[in-house]
Assembly symmetry: C2
């Protein structure tokens, strides 16, 4: 059943009001009518079966029926902080990472990012990434949309936000160095409910200064398999591995 | 160091001859000169340091120096057989799956594939996918290129090729059904060196007939995390999880 993420102010008593793009999708794309059912999610991550009560020129009004008993969210909160890559790669990163359970996303201005975002470009990009995250959340049956944060540096990010563990994906970790730390050792220390930060460099990787700052901050460098991954593949590997470990491996069989 | 996959006939005694696209890349893109070193891989999956001996108008001739002691290949051979999806999605699937260690790739004509390949289209597509697999292998430092097989159906595939285990990614496996079989249970039975087939449906999933045929053939349905993945995300999840399990989890720490 199609699901929609409805902002807080549109939930009133036992009704939900659907407007704007979602209105267009319900009425013109899905061609829903009075009496049909859809799923509406609120910003708290709850999902409800809803029945369409009335449709006018600007609003679909639904009655809330009952809450879905589902939990499709990754049991740990993973913030992906990604050095600005070239071209449209962030679109792919945000879409796929949302499907794979990302908690939220931070675009990072890093030393080796060739792309620079000025204020105007940032606003345009964030709007686009938020739309991609919303659509991917709907499509993948998530109960919350990952937040897309504004552009930051690793310094401001680590000063202003707290995490239980910080990991950095570094292509310079070879097999020989895996005894120093490994994704396995890191993952073994993570418990459900914790907040993890995963930092990924742009195409050129991290600078010496960035690596040493992250080292000082206690971030653990991890290896993501034996091959060199393109920058946009790294978050997909990490999230898939975390999902496999927490949702398929540890789950009751 | 840049690496190139050189066909068998270009290895002669202790020399390697580089021609065509690779010649262009060595000479015009990388601007290599006599005395410079590159890495050349042979079709057996061996990689060698090579020194450029001479460059003429059509050939780069290299002396083979010594074999690299490396093993970047996933310890199991994973064949990804993917129902023909819409648009250019196979490009992304083959590029990313190559980075993530795919063994080889089979495009599947499936019941719910909207796209149809006639002979001419197939030849064009296969040529493009082979080029993508070669470039991704070079970029990700693999020692072999995944083979791109011709279009097949699940019937011809399972009649003509043998696998130690066949898995099918099905979006209809919910948590409630996970007791029937799970990716964990499947992965637990796989040993290094084995050949695994992973079948993934197109956008509309697998038909009832296909699912029941695969069931008869002993294919195990698996779930890839708690969310609904787009068709092109499924092989990336599965390969990342297999890499994590065999290269990061089981590895000596």
């Amino acid at each position: 059943m199609q699901r929609y993420f409805i902002p807080k102010e549109n939930w009133q008593d036992n009704q939900v009001i659907i407007t704007d793009d979602d209105y267009h999708h319900v009425v013109n794309v899905m061609r829903k009518q009075e009496g049909n059912q859809i799923i509406c999610c609120n910003p708290n991550g709850q999902a409800f079966y809803c029945e369409i009560n009335s449709i006018n020129e600007k609003q679909v009004v639904c009655n809330v029926l009952e809450e879905l008993e589902e939990n499709n969210e990754l049991p740990i909160h993973v913030t992906i902080a990604h050095g600005l890559p070239k071209g449209d790669k962030l679109d792919l990163i945000v879409q796929k990472s949302t499907e794979l359970g990302m908690g939220d996303f931070v675009p990072l201005q890093m030393d080796r990012s060739i792309v620079k975002w000025d204020h105007k470009k940032e606003q345009k990009k964030l709007l686009r990434l938020k739309k991609i995250a919303k659509e991917a959340s709907e499509q993948s049956h998530r109960s919350r949309i990952p937040a897309i944060q504004g552009k930051q540096t690793i310094h401001t990010l680590l000063q202003n936000q707290e995490f239980d563990m910080c990991l950095v994906a570094s292509e310079y970790l070879t097999k020989d160095q895996s005894s120093q730390s490994s994704f396995r050792q890191a993952i073994d220390k993570i418990s459900p409910g914790q907040k993890i930060l995963l930092i990924i460099g742009p195409e050129g990787g991290l600078s010496e200064e960035e690596l040493s700052f992250l080292h000082e901050q206690g971030c653990l460098p991890i290896r993501l398999g034996a091959r060199i991954l393109r920058t946009e593949t790294a978050p997909l590997y990490a999230l898939s591995a975390l999902s496999f470990y927490f949702e398929e491996w540890r789950c009751e069989v």
